[in-house]
Amino acid sequence: MLVVEKNALSEEIESYVEKYGNDRSALLMILHEIQKKHRHISEFAQQEVARLLNIHPVEVYSVISFFAFLNSNPKGRNLVRICQTISCDMKGKKQVVQAIERELGIKIGETTKDNKFTVEYANCLGLCDMGPAMAINDQVYVNLTPEKAVELLSKVK
């Protein structure tokens, strides 16, 4: 990482600490902001958060490793999460997943070569009456068919 990048990231994290406070109870929201912007929380970011909240970096890492939506390794620019739980399963989740896998040329859990997409399973998204459901980043899509799902992905930048 370049020094300028590091400085920029430090500044960014400082602004989150300003917004949410420097108490440990601000940790979840600070991590959420970093994750949202960078799609992962790098080792350097973890160290910065730890420094600003006055806790050990390992504490930050242990929280990241606990939560499914936080990760320390980079993922694709867009995160696609498909609900794997039973109501969506019964409405055709499998066909949707297969279509996406074919179209992007990857298996679920993987990232495309151009780094554009990471595709994952998620547990129940709370959209069970409109399944199959999936999330692309922070937006959700429902009543999917294989064709619709692929079309939605093709519109993503």
Partner: protein, 409 residues
């Protein structure tokens, strides 16, 4: 058909229901509550016999009375918006369409227990609601429904903030929720002590489900006796049911407690159901022969998830899906749950492949009962439920299947 879920807060579909979906004007409950003494609010709640809608069914009046009685400089009320139980989405609908009920209920709660801050723990999967809900809170501040001296009530200062979860089902458990709010891994705590005296940051804290808070708003305005008119003696009021699976009209339904399962199935157009999973993955599977049972704390209690399976569904596949969920979501802190769920899932896979003995399956059922007793939190205590109830109720279908195929096919 619309694919993108449009989020427009407060926009109501044509929902009808006796209690929750009945008429309500934003701010009404706050105004009424502030004209009452705290004791009177607690009396109304007691009369209503409202029990928590998050699953555990603890009387709300008792919880608030204890939190109100706890002596501390700071107290908190937390709205549990972690809604992670498979098959549940009624809390999302309440937040999207009825935010006034939820937030007004929180303000009433803050006033009653003497809290200065309310925290909404919103599951990460509902991130798309964060901005609209924050805008909504800003509107409330403008109208002095939040902030200092609310509606001119000298000395009543209360505000609400929202914290996003990050994809962990167990964080819906109230002590795990508090742990994660404090910036730790979301691992459940030993109880006691309970959050009512040692909660967020060690202060007295009331954790309430979204639907509970929505019910409070109606109770304050219309009275506890009015609320208790609905439902049964032991289960007062109504319940929101999140209905999905094999039926014509999935969605959220408000029905009085005491409704028969068969009546619900009729309403949602489930013609050839052979089973319903009530209460989500951690609930119970009810076979057709028991569809005359009633939805109520005294018969089939539930947080409201109803998943319907028709005659063509493979119940072993359903069970496998649930056990995969628990293996995924166990926090791993205690052994019965961490190891137990993996063993139960392996058992399901053995049956799937036709490589099992009944001796082994019976041992696994025994293991399930041990998990119910020995697990540290509700996750591990209830995760064996589907294993035990599905294998028991569908043993013919499940054990008569041939190697790898369904029902010998």
């Amino acid at each position: 058909m619309q694919n993108h879920l449009e989020v427009k807060l407060g926009k109501k579909t044509d929902r009808k229901g006796p209690v929750i979906f009945s008429e309500y004007k934003r701010g009404e409950a706050i105004k009424k509550a502030l004209s009452m003494s705290r004791e009177d609010i607690l009396f109304e709640l007691k009369d209503s016999k409202l029990k928590g809608r998050g699953g555990a069914g603890f009387p709300t009046s008792t919880k608030w009375m204890l939190t109100a009685a706890a002596k501390a400089e700071k107290k908190f009320i937390i709205c549990n918006a972690d809604e992670g139980e498979p098959g549940t989405f009624k809390d999302r609908v309440l937040l999207m369409e009825y935010p006034e009920l939820v937030f007004d209920g929180m303000v009433v709660g803050g006033y009653t227990i003497g809290a200065q801050l309310g925290i909404v723990y919103l599951r990460g999967e509902y991130e798309y609601l964060l901005k609209p809900l924050e805008d909504y809170l800003e509107e409330m501040r403008k109208d002095n429904l939040l902030g200092k001296n609310i509606l001119g009530k000298e000395g009543f200062d209360f505000d609400i903030e929202i914290v996003l979860g990050s994809g962990a089902y167990v964080c819906g458990e109230e002590t795990a929720l508090i742990e994660s709010l404090e910036g730790h891994r979301g691992e459940p705590r030993n109880r006691p002590p309970y959050p009512i005296n040692t909660g967020f940051l060690g202060r007295p804290t009331s954790v309430n489900n979204i639907e509970t808070l929505a019910a409070v708003s109606h109770i304050v305005v219309k009275g506890g006796k009015w609320f208790a008119k609905f439902g049964t003696d032991k289960s007062s009021g109504s319940k929101l049911f999140s209905v999905s699976g094999d039926c014509e009209k999935p969605g959220v339904y408000e029905l009085p407690w005491g409704t028969k399962i068969s009546e619900l199935l009729e309403i949602v157009g489930a013609k050839n159901a052979k089973a319903v999973q009530i209460g989500g993955a951690s609930g119970h599977c009810i076979p057709k022969s028991q569809f005359d049972r009633t939805l109520a704390y005294e018969d089939v209690p539930t947080g409201g998830s109803v998943m319907i399976f028709n005659e063509n569904r493979d119940m072993l596949h359903v069970l496998k899906n649930f056990m995969e969920f628990f293996v995924d979501e166990s926090c791993g802190q205690c052994t019965p749950c961490r190891i137990g769920n993996v063993k139960l899932l392996e058992g399901v896979e053995m049956i799937e492949k036709g490589q099992y003995t009944f001796a082994h399956i019976n041992k696994l059922k025994e293991l399930g009962r041990t998990m119910q007793l020995a697990s540290k939190c509700g996750l591990g205590q209830s995760s064996p439920n589907p294993f035990i109830s599905i294998l028991e109720n569908f043993k013919d279908e499940i054990f008569n299947r041939g190697n790898g195929g369904r029902n010998g096919r």
